[in-house]
Homo-oligomer: 387 residues x 2
Amino acid sequence: MNKKIFLLGSTGSIGVSTLDVVRQHPENFSISCLVVNRNIDLLAQQVTEFRPSAAVIYDDNASCVFRDRYDFPEVNIFTGKTGLGQALEYCESDVFLNAFVGFAGLEPTVRAVEMGIDIAIANKETLVVAGKLITELAEEKGVNLLPVDSEHSAIWQCLLGENSLSVTRIILTASGGPFREWPQEKLNGVTPEQALKHPNWKMGAKITIDSATLMNKGLEVIEAYWLYPVTEKQIEVVVHPQSIIHSMVEFSDHSIKAQLGIPDMRIPIQYALTFPERLPLDVAPMNFYEQGALTFEQPDFERFPCLKLAFDVLEKGGTYPAVLNAANEIAVDAFLNEKIRFTQIPQIVADTLDGHQSTEVTGVEMLFELDREIREQVEKSIRLKQK
Amino acid sequence: MNKKIFLLGSTGSIGVSTLDVVRQHPENFSISCLVVNRNIDLLAQQVTEFRPSAAVIYDDNASCVFRDRYDFPEVNIFTGKTGLGQALEYCESDVFLNAFVGFAGLEPTVRAVEMGIDIAIANKETLVVAGKLITELAEEKGVNLLPVDSEHSAIWQCLLGENSLSVTRIILTASGGPFREWPQEKLNGVTPEQALKHPNWKMGAKITIDSATLMNKGLEVIEAYWLYPVTEKQIEVVVHPQSIIHSMVEFSDHSIKAQLGIPDMRIPIQYALTFPERLPLDVAPMNFYEQGALTFEQPDFERFPCLKLAFDVLEKGGTYPAVLNAANEIAVDAFLNEKIRFTQIPQIVADTLDGHQSTEVTGVEMLFELDREIREQVEKSIRLKQK
């Protein structure tokens, strides 16, 4: 196996883990292109180590500074969204690993799918807002959608060799986040600092807040719906605070398969790159003798309404999921900037959904416009509330 | 799917469960032959319901009584071991489900493999004493060995679609039996009644005592060795008192797959019959919201030396596993008949192994003779101890 990886978001948590996987298997993986937003110093280190044929810096200013500060004569440096398209044309790539955060991941995914490159998908928002479009386009272009999220990787591994008609239930596990045991009244006073402390996983800020509100699990429910052969009624969320069982699949004979292990994103990342084979990976092994109890709870829709909202928009369909996502991105950002309280995140999302008239999703362009509109609307409403 | 099942041991726990699976799928399964030792009244009920083309009664007297008492003009009744061979020739069968207990299961398995019929194997002793012979013969004859034990079924399900070269560890779970938490000194006084109360599974007497001594798990370790692509060092036993996770497989990337569900033998039995497909099965579904904690412990070789003995004989090979099995069968029988204490079971097995000079297993005949010899020797030593 020798795969050339086009890595979108190389300086984030998933990007850094991906590069460690590549580092462990220089004979099997190489990097064709590294894409970052503006973390140019880390990019320079990564370029030095992995010698891609290209790099893309989304931010114009950062790109200029990079060109001033560093000199990599063998690496073609591109800038911005246009540069991404150029880099995709310029580099030969076997897999496009999208580890961008949020709606920003949609456009690059569409481009890569159109070019027929397999997508390792860590950007769940892409499937949340455009699940139907992307899965249909991928099928048309013969592109594999390779899940990177630990939950979706777990489901994928459990489905290996199974007949999809036998699947009766997908059981998505959720850590429950840092506030799993907090009473409703205390959630009002949650600070960004508290919400950024995930009990089991080290991740970026946006996904960590989404994990605290359980919106992350909601987005994963929608993602699972598009990736796997189930209806929304067949997706169940189980709170499993230890994050050892990464998710499960139940079959028609009531046999359940689970994938488990220590929480380490390098395992699902590598699996997305090696599927259907496996390669050794130097991570801590699971020691069951020392492992404490594995426990399970029902998620609480009252204290964590975001999860309920996600199930609702999945059932309603149309543009609702895209609206949920846009409102949530703005609300999370506002919370991180201390403009709103933690419990206002689900309120804002719910209010935005209430005010929305859904239509059919007919193309990507309308999603870009809708996303822009909803963001403006939510930002405005947050500004008004602050006055 | 329409499979004709030759069912050996139809009135035992596995047999009765198998017939319930058949009852749930009259369009997919039928019974070609029912084989019992002497429970003729239950056999008569089963014949009435499942209308096999033949039945075999091992016990001569019971066979005579059956012919006197019942009249099934459309069912050919055979007697004894010879009758089993005749029935195998007479009936057309797609799968031979061997649910006999102990060494007695070996000969029928050999016959069925030689006839090229797939074997659903619930009789683990067959593979313990003759693993090499049976697996080689099965390969030669193109016969599939379909595991029925819940643990081996779990491993099999986890391996589906995987490359066997990626397997690094098999994790066999064990309930730990009814004496898991008993101190050493209390084990001396265990009564058959206490040992027959398994915490999670309803099974026959012999396997229930083997579960209490952990010899059952030891036999399963040896069975797993012959069924799956691992060395003895790659088989790990983890005590998991809830019996929800039925076993696990670890791969080279430290990803672990598990099969789980409520403890109900109908699930693995049906899977052995439908593999690689699945069919619906009316059993209680797993409810994670109500499931208590799943816990894991290291097995205690001091209090449960049978498990250690099984690992030892697997490593030593030759005729040792057959000797362990024969000595254990006699010791368990003696314990059930209150001739020896619970803690004497491992002692007797260990002493018998110590006095044995191992040789290579060259054929089935030598195993029959060895089994006879060891049984006589152990019975004699138990008689002498009682005086």
